[in-house]
């Protein structure tokens, strides 16, 4: 049997992010935070970018306390100036961006027949346009450095297969748009060795979702016995592991793809 050192070395060659600078948006809580923890554990220098600067700093401090490298910065992904400022800051601090995880999203639900235009617009500005603008900044820096890069967009199974009725039309549309950006950017920038992929979580516990305090009638295809064949909702850490796979050298020939971590929902 190979010993621990041999195994560790081989796994590091395949999955390690040592030396990589990773920007993760919306990373003060939920999936973004778990992704930040995970990336730091496998060697990345992590930028935790969040609307809530204090929370971002707390998340970064936790990682530092465990021996990882992380800083907390602020970003409002609905605001193009804020995004430009973030990436200028990252560029001056680190000199590069190797990985971007577009995780920041609007999780607000809105009843279909009552949804205001403002609610629709907010969803698109944060979730879709935010991903576009952050990706553009990252790609600019990646192209300039000439060392390739990896962008992982957090999408949703709802992008291809609705999960809830009545409350998610704007969210599912935004996530479908995010997947389209995945394909567009992957197609155009593959020659620069910039890979772009989407992770589609299925049912997942999330502080972001739990923070929405308005109550809605939860109904739809995902609700019902057997619709998640693995019989459970994912912990965000499980989805973070999928993000890590796509960001890592293991996936260096994977681009333009959507990868669903959904417990079998899409075959149920």
């Amino acid at each position: 049997m190979y010993n621990e050192t041999q195994i560790g070395a081989r796994l590091a060659a395949i999955f390690s992010l040592t030396g990589k600078v990773a920007v993760i948006t919306g990373a003060a809580q939920g999936l973004g935070r778990q992704t930040a923890r995970l990336f730091a554990e496998v060697g990345a220098q992590v930028v935790i970018a969040d609307l809530n600067l204090e929370a971002a700093k707390v998340a970064a401090a936790e990682i530092q306390g465990k021996g990882g490298i992380a800083i907390g910065l602020t970003v409002n992904v609905a605001n193009p100036v804020s995004i430009a400022t973030l990436f200028a800051d990252v560029s001056s601090r680190f000199g590069q961006v190797d990985i971007l995880v577009n995780n920041a999203a609007n999780r607000a639900k809105a009843e279909f027949f009552d949804m205001s235009v403002e609610q629709w617009d907010a969803m698109q500005e944060i979730t879709l346009r935010g991903t576009f603008l952050c990706s553009r900044e990252a790609i600019r820096l990646m192209k300039a450095k000439g060392n390739g890069g990896s962008i992982v967009n957090i999408s949703s199974v709802g992008s291809v297969h609705p999960t809830l009725w009545g409350v998610n039309a704007h969210y599912d549309a935004a996530k479908a748009g995010v997947d389209s950006l995945t394909r567009t950017f992957a197609s155009e920038f593959a020659s620069e060795r910039i890979r772009v992929n989407s992770v589609l979580p299925g049912g997942m516990t999330s502080e972001g979702a739990a923070n929405i305090t308005d109550s809605y009638d939860i109904r739809g295809p995902m609700i019902g016995a057997g619709r998640i064949p693995l019989g459970r909702i994912a912990d965000p850490m499980e989805v973070a592991q999928t993000v890590l796979f796509l960001a890592s050298p293991a996936a260096s020939y994977v681009t333009g793809q959507i990868l669903a971590a959904d417990g079998g929902y899409m075959v149920s």
Binding site: M1, Y2, N3, E4, T5, Q6, I7, G8, A9, R10, L11, A12, I14, F15, S16, T18, L38, E41, V42, G43, G67, R183, A186, S187, A190, S191, R193, R195, G202, P229, L230, G231, A234, E238, V239, Q241, T242, L244, F245, P249, A250, A251, S252, Y253, V254, T255, G256, Q257, L259, A260, A261, D262, G263, G264, M266, V267, S268
Partner: protein, 267 residues
């Protein structure tokens, strides 16, 4: 570098992994990488010399592996393989099916026997291997992971005249979705890895080799660099995707495929 985290996330130490192949496909690379990640590997192939070389190499570097001569197109041989694994190491935790062959010929010239050959190796053998794997995994009650290395050609043609191969591998995708649904409750997770341009990793029918050598193979994936923005993939790319799916971090993915195409599908 904290390799403890990597082992927790991706390590498969002590797991029993069966890798089936049909001589010269990606099985050897998958076996090496799964062994390097800590698994005890069973290499099951019809090519005894090649198999033994892999097992010897794994053993020489400190890993653990055995070779079991297997014809994946024979139901009896596949049943015997899994019975043998059970006797030696118990039920498998991981099964990676890597057997493959392709025969490129215009459909108008494709004979029934040529069709049956492709279906037998590229679809029916997967049925045999999956069925036996699941039988043993269910009986052991510990769950398990199954990955089939198929092809991007199951979604989009790569070569002209490759309809039989595309049909067989699309069939594997259908089988995987169905089995993933049916055996999720047993915690048996089943997925595909679908490589595109990875040189030399699918055995070609002798006829097809001849056509390749005469420069007669054509298709979207041939020659044009424009269709392969990230260049050629490596066998390690295939093995890494398999390792990810069969390890701890692949535990919420079932019924899906990871496409390794370097951007071909979007070119």
């Amino acid at each position: 570098m904290n390799t403890e985290a990597l082992q927790r996330l991706f390590g498969i130490e002590g797991k029993v992994a069966v890798i089936t192949d049909s001589g010269g496909n990606s099985g050897s690379d998958v076996a090496r990488v799964l062994a390097a990640a800590g698994a005890k590997v069973v290499v099951a192939d019809s090519d005894s010399d090649r198999m033994q070389a892999i097992v010897d190499q794994i053993g020489a570097t400190g890993g653990e592996g055995i070779a079991v001569a297997t014809n994946v197109e024979s139901e009896a041989s596949v049943i015997a393989l899994f019975d043998r694994v059970e006797r030696v190491w118990g039920a498998p935790d991981i099964v990676a099916n890597c057997a493959a062959m392709t025969n490129c010929r215009p459909l108008t010239e494709f004979t029934e026997s040529a069709w049956d050959e492709v279906i037998s190796l590229d679809l029916k053998s997967v049925f045999f291997c999956m069925r036996e794997a699941i039988r043993h995994m269910k009986a052991a009650g510990r769950g398990g992971r199954i990955v089939n290395v198929t092809t991007m050609g199951s979604i989009h043609p790569v070569l002209n005249g490759n309809g039989a191969y595309g049909a067989a591998r699309a069939g594997v995708s259908g089988l995987v979705r169905s089995a993933a649904l049916d055996y999720a409750k047993d915690n048996i997770l089943i997925n595909n890895v679908m490589p595109g341009a990875v040189q030399g990793k699918v055995r070609l029918h002798p006829d097809t080799i001849a056509r390749l050598e005469r420069g007669e193979l054509t298709g979207p994936g041939v020659d044009t660099e424009r269709r392969r923005p990230l260049g050629w993939g490596t066998p390690e790319d295939i093995a890494a995707a398999v390792l990810y799916l069969v390890g701890p971090s692949g535990g919420y993915i079932t019924g899906h495929g990871i496409v390794l195409d370097g951007g071909f599908l979007l070119s």
